[in-house]
Symmetry: C2
């Protein structure tokens, strides 16, 4: 029967995709459920294997289902972290020795920092501009990845002006209770003000690899700039988040 | 020559995609530039048309280039709006008669509200829960779309408890200076506190149509809840944003 035009001018694979999507939205297939196999869908709709594969590929590119090798195609299960943008950075939290990121997770789930690398670098142009140093000036970079229940959900790269953090615990792989903000505060550079800038787009191949993203999953890019009370920039943090793993929340007064 | 494996185990189309991506990142092709045509790429790389098409399709699905019918494949030009989440909702602005969304655009670009529809509806479950009414209770919905330089960049659907807005200018297609927040304030329900919740994912076919999204473009979903000073919810606004058209910014104290 092939994949010709049917009712309403839609191609067969589009109609099959639509039918499966509706069934998922109606809860007929729940998160984590396996969809019917290719052979079953071929019989059910009277179409060729290629048509069934096209239909499934539409749902994969929309991020609704994911293929697991040798096991079939499954409805994706979303159980995102809730990241309360403003509350998590409150100085009471880090001054009391709690890490910023621990605010994103409840006791039943495990968020782990992984692959911390601290290196001295020459500031490239954008970083130099934000930090207010000359391009090529020495800066310290702190790179790390965050894993939720074993799955990478975010990578982050912070940059600090070298003069500000030299000889401080900011440069230790584990900066201790309250993290780098508590250490910056002890060194007389307490962050008092933050700006977060968010964009979202499809991942590069490298980002998809690093965060193990199924196809059809965008990334959220957050650039946070931390300022002291007198307006000095003490950190620029570039984060790449698995969009399916996060809900971002900002709460504020009119 | 086909599309066999080459150096480093990459398929030919992947290497061609990578080469084009690097050239775009290096600024060799700038935003708005046309990439070489299929015939030129075939000759240049000594490959079949199908291989060239695969390479271009990779870049399209990444949102880096877009095909324009009959004209070729072009590097996408991003000139996003900067949406300052907190400042734009400051009561000084709408109390002074300025619209919330006018904060997102400078004088050189035109943002237009389009297709306003105001309808009475029965609250479905989620809206009822947030507004604190019974499911099925009467609510008013205000739907509209925003166009930037003629291109749709956002659609939005606000819901209000019926008792709160009946007979007010909140229900007029054009609610007047300062928009619905200024009218709510006049009716004794001034918004004092906001919560914005952000997610991002690939668009449904309907969303892609409505916002005229090229392939490889995610959407950002923002749900804003507006509270009065005593904690009453006066509005739930569900927005769908073209991710390529917006940078979101939130600025706050530690």
């Amino acid at each position: 029967m092939g994949s010709g035009h049917g009712a309403a001018g839609k191609l067969k694979y589009q109609r099959i995709a639509e039918e499966l999507r509706s069934a998922i939205e109606a809860g007929e297939y729940e998160p984590g459920d396996r969809l019917p196999g290719e052979n079953d869908l071929m019989t059910l709709h009277g179409v060729a294997r290629m048509t069934v594969r096209q239909a499934l590929s539409v749902l994969r590119s929309e991020g609704i289902v994911e293929a697991r090798k040798g096991a079939g195609v499954f409805v994706r299960a979303f159980r995102p972290l809730r990241r309360r943008g403003i509350q998590r950075l409150a100085s009471e939290r880090w001054a009391a020795g709690r890490s910023v990121w621990s605010a994103d997770v409840d006791d039943r789930r495990e968020l782990v920092v992984d692959g911390v690398q601290v290196t001295q670098e020459e500031a490239h142009e954008r970083i130099a501009t934000v930090l207010g140093v000359e391009p090529g000036a020495p800066v310290w970079a702190r790179r790390r990845r965050y894993l939720l229940d074993g799955k990478p959900v975010m990578s982050a790269a912070s940059h600090f002006p070298a003069g500000l953090v030299a000889g401080t615990a900011v440069l230790l792989p584990d900066p201790g209770p309250g993290g780098v903000y508590a250490r910056l505060a002890e060194a007389g550079h307490a962050p008092a003000h933050f700006r977060e800038e968010l964009r979202t787009r499809m991942p590069s191949a490298g980002e998809a690899d690093e965060l193990r993203l199924p196809s059809g999953t965008p990334v959220i890019l957050i650039t946070r700039t931390a300022f002291t009370a007198d307006g000095t920039v003490v950190e620029v943090n570039d984060m790449v988040l698995d969009a399916a793993s996060y809900i971002l929340e900002y709460e504020f007064d009119a």
